[in-house]
Symmetry: C2
Subunit: 361 residues, 2 copies
């Protein structure tokens, strides 16, 4: 195993679209969605361990999740858990992690992973990451994984590929990024064969990404430029406490990827889903003869189909007459809504918070 | 208050049509359905207390509910709780209670009440009971209350009235009893003006009902004819333990009322519902502007109407796209079904019991 290889796992998200399973104090990445006995975060760590040793795995999260991370990942050492003092999206998180890793190892290469996605093809994943790390270790290049799209999904960002990279099959320059398109555009993307889903998986060397911040997001770069060595020392926490909250809240896509001229995409087939919504989980889950997902829970149905049932705990659901619904029951909250309406879930959570305070969210 | 007047409250029912609220260990009559802070049983006792003192209230129940009755009705003395050793429907229950009361007071008159019905007009109820008791105290007559029907309900039994009783306005001979009719017949009943809903509320003297058992159900009468005085003594429990389980399981309607020739009906308007089903509870409950019942629980709805939401405890429901449903959540069980399908609930409960054992029923 190449000891210069590091993995940053971003696990500070709130996951409000998965309410009522995802809660403020235990968001999606910490949940055992598939009843395998492991949370999505634990599955993410297991998936990368053949490529990156446990001592080189860095977790970046909001400080309110420190305890749950220590509990779920006892193999990760305390100094590898970076606790953000505020929520500022992915760009500052990635910049901090790159500084931290560069201080540990100036020659480091880094794969950055979301903590709450589904990857069914673990071997393909491992091979893609190894090839991608090799690619970014041999040049000042930023690499993103592009997923072969299987349908005109309007919930994903798309990456358009350009000319091929030399000597690396399946890696090409990025021609454009497109945020969530409408369905007509998504259909055109799909039929063109040039567009891939943006999986939010990034590879680069520590040096390359820090150079990119200097060049394309100098405001963020400046915040994290310490006047003296602080990263990976006992001065790091105090420095971050002061500087991190000053960062704009911005994604790495906007801050760097859409601006940089050295961005590449490695196209892969991973059996991937971002599990961004109940419907995405429905699509990713095995269905019974009626097209219902009742995995991991006791459900008696009559005249139900296309419905996603999710129950936390030893509970029974008896349901009749539901077509294409989501039924999600967790503790003190129950959601019943048509799958087509699920984009409203996030706003309902806000409404609940406004009406009842924090105890149901 | 006339000290010869007694009330028998039957509270041994299972109420499986109200699953998952009604459970084996806590059926419907013990639940606070309306969020008033009192169970249906407690409301029943409160309703009769202006007519019958607490020492003259006899509770007949299955022995598994002894503790919950003592807890809910501390004002009822222990010797007034008759614990059935087996479930045998209403006829043997009424026969036993009549013997018990006759032993306490040979001149007793008795009103027998279900424990799980809704009565909105308490004054009309009290007046009807007082008139009815007066009627049965002045002759060997069996009296039942008939409710003015407001719709062609097919879930109730109907009583057809005949010629008027002398000197008692609103009391007439019974011409016929009809079990749950089909909707065409129910409509004819309603338009004829001769038919009334059978509320399961009966009035008689102890002597009259025991005479009726001798005459119309001698098999049951014989079981409860003790060779020596046992009722209201410390020998009663042992005698009942042996004899009660030998009784056929039969309702008082079949065993006596449909056969006897001295049966009368007192027609009343009580704001009554038997609360026999979720739909009956829906009908009896106040509705919001969308026709949903969300009483006593926190519900956020979008595009829902005609739906009954019932939640036990401090829980929130977020629901969208439900028309005319029942959503009932209680502990380890959740029911979601169209109101039109609710007659299936009882059979589903049996299925759950067969599949998972007792822990969800």
């Amino acid at each position: 195993m190449n000891s210069h290889r590091y993995c940053v796992i971003m696990c500070g998200g709130v996951g409000s679209r998965f309410w009522p399973f995802s809660r403020n104090d235990k968001p999606k990445q910490f949940l055992d969605f598939f009843g395998t006995g492991k949370s999505l975060l634990q599955l993410t760590v297991d998936r990368i361990l053949p490529v990156v040793g446990p001592d080189n795995i860095i977790l970046v999260t909001n400080r309110q999740y420190a305890d749950i991370i220590r509990q779920q990942l006892p193999q990760v050492k305390e100094s590898n858990i970076l606790l953000e003092p505020a929520r500022r999206n992915t760009a500052p998180c990635i910049c901090w992690a790159a500084h931290h890793i560069q201080a540990l190892d100036p020659e480091a290469s880094i794969v950055t992973l979301p903590s709450d996605h589904l990857v069914l093809k673990e071997d393909a994943f491992r091979q893609a990451i190894e090839k991608g790390l090799d690619f970014v270790e041999n040049g000042n290049r930023l690499l993103t994984l592009g997923i072969n799209p299987t349908n005109p999904n309007t919930g994903y960002g798309y990456i358009q590929q350009g000319s091929p990279a030399q000597d690396y099959d399946g890696i090409r320059k990025v021609k454009s990024f497109t945020e969530k398109p409408d369905v007509e555009m998504a259909k055109m993307f799909l039929s063109s064969g040039e567009f891939f889903w943006n999986a939010g998986i990034f590879l680069w060397s520590a040096k390359s990404i820090l150079d990119a911040f200097e060049k394309y997001s100098p405001d963020i770069a400046q915040l994290f430029d310490a006047p003296e060595p602080v990263y990976a020392t006992d001065k790091e926490a105090e420095f971050i406490e002061d500087s991190f909250p000053l960062s704009p809240s911005i994604s790495i896509d906007y801050a760097i990827m859409e601006k940089a001229d050295n961005v590449y995409v490695e196209t892969v087939d991973l059996g991937w889903s971002d599990l961004g919504t109940w419907s995405a989980l429905y699509e990713a889950s095995p269905k019974n003869a009626d097209g219902n997902v009742t995995q991991n829970c006791k459900v008696l149905t009559s005249d139900c189909n296309g419905t996603m049932f999710a129950v936390n705990g030893d509970k029974i659901i008896v349901a009749a007459g539901l077509k294409d619904y989501i039924v999600a029951d967790n503790g003190n909250a129950l959601l019943i809504c048509p799958r087509a309406d699920e984009q409203k879930v996030r706003q309902v959570v806000n409404e609940i918070k406004a009406t009842f305070g924090d105890r149901f969210v």
